[in-house]
Amino acid sequence: MKMAVFWGCRILTSQYAYEMSVRQVFPKLGVELVDLREATCCGGPVKSINAFAADYLAARALALANLTGLTDLLVPCNRCHFTISEAKHRMEINERLRLRIGELLKEDGLEYDPNINIWHVIDLLHDAVGLEKIKETVKKPFKGLELASHTGCQIIRYSDLGRVDDAENPRKLDELINVLGAETVDYSEKLDCCGAVLTYSHQDAALSLAGSKIKALQGLNVDALVVCCPACQMMFDSEQKDAGTAVGAKLDLPVLYYTQLLGLALDIEAEKLGLHLNQSLVDKLLTKLPA
């Protein structure tokens, strides 16, 4: 399986561990990734300013994927995945929009292709690669680990766009964790948002949202929180210290990307998966892994 990959801004500019671990794990599972010719924004932050310009950027991402000659596009960021999926949906139901965006793309030497399939890490692994294949490929299954999953918001909502998992009871990330030999917990804050979008306007509220969730998880004594979005990782991992200050708690919960966890089970070196870049105390988790 060969597919194009659209990284978005946050992965390319700061969440390097996600990029490193995605680049490491997929070839081992038979998925070859091809970078796009140019790196641009998906349009996510532009939606608030000008919906048309945001749709243009999203359509441009699909047009760039079109240049690779491939029909599948991996979008590992939840927000980019939502923005591109929504723009695609809007262009499907609004011909005038599609034509106007098509004209603009032409001025940039590009062509919009509605037939590109958009994938996220979760559905690519769960539905295309498959749990069986992952199980067969795992070299070092986990034992006795209890983990919590955070699928995030924009990858599961809203269903009209066709999202990767159930909007109210996402299970795929849990199943992907379970297949590696670790247990997962159900917890009442599971659907709570990380708050990342609020960093644009209300930093304190954003940190409080992230902090409350980690605080609740610490109370459950889980070994780590597993995420699959660079914005969620930023809030729960990179900003964990400040999130703790915001909620008046000492937070020290290991937080990592699912692709990092998967990489460990595939026996890839921690450093190649960017685990040295996580700001939370992932060492606590690493010492619990089988030798």
């Binding site: 801004c9 140019e38 932050p45 300013i49 048309f52 940039d108 870049l277």
Partner: protein, 171 residues
């Protein structure tokens, strides 16, 4: 007889309502029966007092100018629960985004970070600046030392066309 808000003396305004409808791509507002499913699940309710059902009601009554000038529309966390759960497919999130776009057109106060993101995209295609990461062991890394491929910036025509998209008259 017409409606008037006795607290602010604001009156409903048809033209602004029409603009919001156009942005939503609808011919009329949905029948929100104030079930509060949106507000009861709203991520921004507890900390920032965002009440999507009130926004739905105010827009329906025509108090669009007041909302477009208000800071409340910038408290949405984009968790999309209201879109998912609205039994009328009213989608408060999309109404809020339409109000934000209207606020920008009217040059109302917009959180700086959004404007900065747009200007950065114009500059080099990405909404954020490239960062160096200091690890838990106080070592510093960037894309080069992590052996990650160089970021390829968009061609020059990108800026011209994106600017055109930003200036396109929205309806």
């Amino acid at each position: 007889m017409s409606l008037i808000d006795l607290m602010s003396m604001a009156k409903p305004e048809k033209e602004s309502m029409r603009k919001v409808l156009a942005k939503l791509g609808r011919s009329e507002f949905i029948d929100c029966f104030q079930c509060l499913k949106c507000t009861s699940g709203c991520t921004a309710l507890k900390l920032l007092e965002l009440k999507p059902h009130e926004i739905m009601k105010l827009v329906r009554l025509g108090f669009v100018n007041e909302l477009a000038a208000s800071e409340i529309i910038w408290t949405c966390a984009t968790c999309l629960k209201c879109v998912q759960r609205c039994p009328q497919k009213g989608s408060p999130y999309h109404v809020i985004m339409a109000l934000r776009n209207l606020a920008v057109e009217r040059e109302a106060k917009v959180p700086e970070a959004y404007l900065k993101a747009v200007s950065q995209i114009l500059e080099n295609g990405l909404s954020q600046t490239i960062q160096k990461i200091t690890t838990r062991k106080m070592e510093t890394f960037d894309r080069t030392s992590l052996k990650l491929p160089k970021i390829s910036a968009p061609k020059e025509s990108f800026q011209t066309v994106f600017l055109k998209a930003l200036e396109e008259k929205q309806e």
